[in-house]
C-alpha cells in the first residue's frame, strides 16, 4: 500500500478514535457510552493494522470490542442504569477534569514533539512526498543495522515493515511470546484465573443471616 495513503488512513482513524472517545465521556446514557467505546476500540484496532501489528489488532477487536464491551453492555442492561443527571457542584469536577486532562495531553505532546528530529516533519504528508523514494521497501541488510537511538533517527518516520519470506507478524509474535515470555504468560494466566474467581466471589449474592 502506498505510504501516503497509509498515513492519511492513520489520521482518519485517529480522528475517529478521538471523536468516539469523546463520545464515551460526554454522552449521558451509559449504553451510548459503551457503544461509543466499541467504536473507539475498533478504530484503534484499525490503527494497529496500519502499524503492522496485525495480531494485536485482531486481539483488540476480539478481546476489547468483543468480550469486554459485551460484558459492559450486559451489566449496563442488567443494572438498568439511568441517565446520569447533572448534580450540583459537579461542574467543579468537570472543569478540573478538563484542565487536568488538557495539561496531561499538552505535556505528553510537547514531550513527544521535542523528540530529537521530530520537528522536522512539519506536515507528514508533505514530508512523505519529499522522501517517497527513500521510504520504499528496501531489501534486508541494506538498511541500518542498529536500533534508531541516535537523535536524528528517533523522531523521524517509522521504518516500514518488511518481512522475510516465510515469516509473518503472528509467527514472530508467537515465537517471542512462547520463548522469552513463556513463564510470564503462565503467571498471567493465573492472574486471569484469580480475576475470574474474584469476580465470582464478589458478584455472588450475599447470604445475610
Amino acid at each position: 500500500m502506498n505510504p501516503a495513503i497509509q498515513a492519511i488512513l492513520f489520521y482518519i482513524f485517529a480522528l475517529g478514535a478521538l471523536a468516539s472517545a469523546l463520545g464515551v465521556v460526554v454522552l449521558r446514557n451509559p449504553v451510548s457510552s459503551a457503544l461509543s467505546l466499541a467504536c473507539c476500540l475498533a478504530f484503534v484496532a484499525a490503527i494497529f493494522f496500519g502499524a503492522g501489528a496485525t495480531f494485536l489488532g485482531i486481539a483488540q477487536l476480539i478481546i476489547y470490542a468483543g468480550a469486554i464491551l459485551v460484558l459492559i453492555l450486559f451489566i449496563v442492561m442488567m443494572l438498568n442504569v439511568k441517565d446520569e443527571k447533572p448534580a450540583a457542584g459537579n461542574w467543579f469536577y468537570c472543569i478540573v477534569g478538563v484542565v487536568v486532562a488538557a495539561m496531561m495531553a499538552g505535556t505528553i505532546s510537547s514531550a513527544a514533539l521535542r523528540l530529537p528530529g521530530a520537528t522536522k516533519g512539519r506536515c507528514p504528508v508533505h514530508v512523505l512526498a519529499e522522501h517517497a523514494n527513500e521510504l520504499s521497501p528496501v531489501p534486508r541488510g541494506a538498511q541500518a543495522t542498529h536500533p534508531p537511538t541516535t537523535p536524528s533517527e528517533y523522531g523521524g518516520m517509522l521504518p516500514p515493515v518488511s518481512m522475510k519470506e516465510g515469516e509473518s507478524d503472528i509467527s514472530l509474535l508467537g515465537k517471542t511470546l512462547f520463548t522469552h515470555y513463556n513463564m510470564s504468560i503462565v503467571i498471567l494466566s493465573f492472574a486471569l484465573l484469580a480475576g475470574a474467581l474474584g469476580a465470582v466471589a464478589v458478584g455472588r449474592k450475599l447470604h445475610r443471616d
Binding site: Y93, V96, G97, V100, M103, M104, T107, I108, A111
Partner: protein
C-alpha cells in the same frame, strides 16, 4: 585473682547498698545487718592489709582509650590510702553499729538509711583508693549524692529536704571548679594518674597556669570540705540523723578535700604547689577557722556547735595544707576524725536520751543522769580543745608548729581560734551537763543502750591515745609519718595559754549559778552576739542577693523563654499550625471518588513533569 582483693573495698558496700535498697526494703533489721557486716568486713580487710597482707597491685579497668590517653580506673594502695581507709572503715563500722541503737524506733524506712550509709562507704572508698583524679571525681560526686540522701533522710521535714538540696547545690558549685581543675591537670601533666604526675610537669614550677589548676582543684575541696565561701551547707547538714553527721559531716567526707589536696601534694611534689596557690589555700583555711569558731560561740543547738567546730578544724587542716605541712594536716585529720566522731555520737546519744531535744539551754544536769555518755563527751572535748595528753593536743601542736615556722599572722590566728574553740566547748559542756535540768525531758534522761555506748567507749579510747607516737606512727595516713616530740617552745605555751584563756573566759561568763539555771544565753542580747547567731549574715546574703536577686532575674529570663518562645510559639504555634493544616487537608479527604482520581492524576502529572524537565 588475689591481687584483685582490694576491689572488695568497693564491691562489698555497693552490693550491700543494692541489697538493702532493692531486696530488703521491707526488712530493716536484715538490711542493717547486711550493711554492718559489709562495713566490718571492709574494716577487717583493711586491718589485714595494714598488718602486712601482700596481694600485689590490683588490676585496673580500662574504661575507654583515646589514642595515647586512656581513661582507666584503678586502685592505689599505699600508706596514705590504706591508713585513710582504716579511719574511714573504722569510724564507718562504729557508726553503723551506733546507728542500730540510734535509729531504733524511728518510723522512717531504715533500709533506706542503711543503704545510704553503704553507698557512702562505697563512694568514700572510691575517693580514698582512687589511683587517678577521674576515680576520685567519681567518688567525689558519689559522696555528694549519698550525703544528699542521708541529710534528706527525714525528707518529710522541710528543713531536712532544704538542707539536703543546699548541700548538694553548694557542692556542685565547687565541683565545677574541680572538674575544670582536673582538665587543667590533664593538660599540664599529661596524665590523671597520681603515680604518673611527679616529674612530668610540662610547665616550669610557679607558672600561673599551674596556680590556676591548683586553685580550681582547691575549689572542689572548698565545696566538699565546707571552706569559707561555700561553708554554708555544713551547719544545715545537721538536719540529718546524728550518726550520719558523725560519719559524713565530721569525720570522713568533709575531710576528703584535705585528703585530696595532700594526695596531690604527695604525687605532684611540693614544688608544684605555687606560692600564690599556697597563700590562697592557707588564707581561706584560716578565715574559715576564725569565722566558724566565732559563730560557734553563740550557737544553742548542740549539733550546730559541733558543726561549726568541725568547720573550724577543717580550716586548720586547710591552713596546714597551704603551709605545705601535709603531714600535720593528715595528723590532725586523723585525730580529728576519731574525736569528732566521738563528740557527734555522744551528742547523738544525748539527743536520743533527751527525746530529740537539741537545744543546750533545754538540757542541763546531764552529768548525773547519763555519766558514761557525758564522760565520753568530755574526753572528746578535751581532745578537741587540745588538753595536753589527749590526741588533739599533739596534732594541733604540729599545725601551730608549722604555722610558727612559716607565717606569723597565721600562727596568731591559729592561737586565737584555739582559744575560741576552748571557749565554746567549755560553754557547751557547762550549760548542757552542769546545773539542774531545765526541762522535763532533760530530767527524764537515762543512760543510752549498749549498742550506742560500746562505739562511744572505743572512740573515747582512740580519742585519747591516737595522738601518742606509738599509735600515731602506725596509723596516721601519711607515708613515713613520725609523731613530733613535744618541746617546751613558743607553740606549746601559746597552746596552753589559749586553753587557759578560753576556758577561763567561759567559766567566768557561764559558770555562775544563776546563769546555769537560766533558759537563755546571757550574752544573747548584744549586737555582736546577734550577728554571730545569724552566722554573720552570710547565709542571709546568699539567700537575698544570690538566690533572691540573681536567681530571680535569671528565673524571669528563663520563664520568658519558656513561656513565650517554647510554650506560645513552639507549643501552641505548632498545635495551631497542625490543626489548621489538618483542617485544610481534611477537605481533600472529601469522600468523593472524583476528587481522589483528580488528585492521583495531578500527582502523576507532577511526577511526569519532574521526569521530563529534569532528565
Amino acid at each position: 585473682m588475689m591481687q584483685n582483693l582490694p576491689w572488695l573495698f568497693l564491691v562489698l558496700p555497693l552490693v550491700a547498698a543494692a541489697a538493702d535498697w532493692l531486696v530488703l526494703a521491707r526488712k530493716p533489721r536484715v538490711a542493717a545487718c547486711v550493711s554492718i557486716v559489709s562495713a566490718l568486713a571492709t574494716m577487717a580487710l583493711c586491718i589485714a592489709y595494714l598488718c602486712g597482707l601482700q596481694t600485689g597491685a590490683p588490676n585496673s579497668y580500662v574504661w575507654f582509650p583515646v589514642q595515647e590517653f586512656d581513661l582507666s580506673l584503678g586502685l592505689l594502695m599505699d600508706a596514705l590510702s590504706m591508713k585513710m581507709m582504716l579511719v574511714v572503715t573504722g569510724i564507718g563500722a562504729l557508726v553503723h553499729i551506733f546507728s542500730l541503737g540510734y535509729m531504733k524506733g524511728d518510723p522512717s524506712n531504715q533500709s533506706r538509711y542503711f543503704a545510704g550509709l553503704s553507698i557512702f562507704m562505697f563512694s568514700m572508698s572510691c575517693i580514698v583508693l582512687a589511683n587517678s583524679l577521674i576515680l576520685t571525681f567519681i567518688g567525689w560526686e558519689m559522696v555528694g549524692f549519698s550525703s544528699y540522701l542521708l541529710i534528706g533522710h527525714w525528707y518529710h521535714k522541710d528543713s531536712a529536704a532544704d538542707a539536703a538540696k543546699k548541700a548538694f547545690i553548694t557542692n556542685r558549685v565547687g565541683d565545677f571548679g574541680f572538674l575544670i581543675g582536673i582538665l587543667l591537670t590533664l593538660g599540664l601533666f599529661g596524665s590523671l594518674h597520681y603515680a604518673d604526675m611527679a616529674g612530668h610537669m610540662k610547665v616550669e614550677a610557679g607558672s600561673p597556669v599551674l596556680t590556676a589548676a591548683l586553685l580550681c582543684l582547691f575549689c572542689g575541696a572548698v565545696g566538699k570540705s565546707a571552706q569559707f565561701p561555700l561553708h554554708v551547707w555544713l551547719p544545715d547538714a545537721m538536719e540529718g540523723p546524728t550518726p550520719v553527721s558523725a560519719l559524713i559531716h565530721a569525720a570522713t567526707m568533709v575531710a576528703a578535700g584535705v585528703y585530696m589536696l595532700v594526695r596531690l601534694q604527695v604525687s605532684m611534689g611540693l614544688d608544684a604547689f605555687t606560692e600564690t596557690a599556697c597563700c590562697v589555700i592557707a588564707g581561706i583555711g584560716a578565715i574559715t577557722a576564725l569565722l566558724s569558731a566565732l559563730m560557734a560561740t553563740q550557737q544553742d543547738d548542740i549539733k550546730r556547735v559541733l558543726a561549726y567546730s568541725t568547720l573550724s578544724q577543717l580550716g586548720y587542716m586547710m591552713m596546714a595544707v597551704g603551709l605545705l605541712a601535709g603531714e600535720a594536716a593528715m595528723f590532725h585529720l586523723y585525730t580529728h576524725a576519731w574525736f569528732k566522731a566521738l563528740l557527734f555520737l555522744a551528742a547523738g546519744s544525748i539527743i536520743v536520751c533527751c527525746h530529740h531535744e537539741q537545744d543546750i539551754w533545754k538540757m542541763g544536769g546531764l552529768r548525773r543522769k547519763m555519766p558514761l555518755t557525758v564522760l565520753c563527751f568530755l574526753a572528746g572535748t578535751c581532745a578537741l580543745i587540745a588538753v595536753p595528753g589527749f590526741s588533739g593536743f599533739f596534732s594541733k601542736e604540729s599545725i601551730l608548729e608549722a604555722a610558727w615556722e612559716r607565717s606569723m599572722p597565721l600562727f596568731v590566728l591559729g592561737v586565737v581560734v584555739a582559744a575560741l574553740t576552748t571557749f565554746y566547748m567549755v560553754r557547751l559542756c557547762l550549760i548542757a551537763f552542769c546545773g539542774d535540768a531545765r526541762t522535763h525531758e532533760a530530767e527524764q534522761a537515762q543512760e543510752a543502750s549498749p549498742t550506742m555506748l560500746v562505739p562511744l567507749f572505743i572512740l573515747a579510747v582512740l580519742a585519747i591515745i591516737s595522738g601518742y607516737g606509738f599509735v600515731a606512727d602506725q596509723l596516721v595516713p601519711y607515708a613515713g609519718f613520725h609523731a613530733p616530740n613535744t618541746e617546751w617552745g613558743v607553740t606549746l605555751f601559746a597552746g596552753l595559754g589559749s586553753l587557759v584563756a578560753g576556758g577561763g573566759l567561759a567559766w567566768l561568763l557561764y559558770g555562775k549559778k544563776n546563769t546555769l539555771s537560766g533558759q537563755t544565753d546571757p550574752l544573747g542580747a548584744n549586737l555582736v552576739s546577734r550577728a554571730l547567731r545569724q552566722r554573720l549574715y552570710i547565709d542571709a546574703f546568699y539567700d537575698h542577693v544570690l538566690v533572691g536577686g540573681v536567681q530571680r532575674w535569671f528565673a524571669c529570663l528563663i520563664s520568658c523563654l519558656d513561656d513565650g518562645i517554647i510554650r506560645r510559639l513552639i507549643g501552641q504555634g505548632l498545635a495551631l499550625l497542625t490543626a489548621w493544616a489538618g483542617r485544610l487537608l481534611g477537605r481533600i479527604q472529601g469522600g468523593s471518588l472524583c476528587g481522589y482520581t483528580m488528585l492521583a492524576s495531578l500527582g502523576v502529572f507532577i511526577l511526569m513533569l519532574i521526569l521530563i524537565l529534569l532528565f
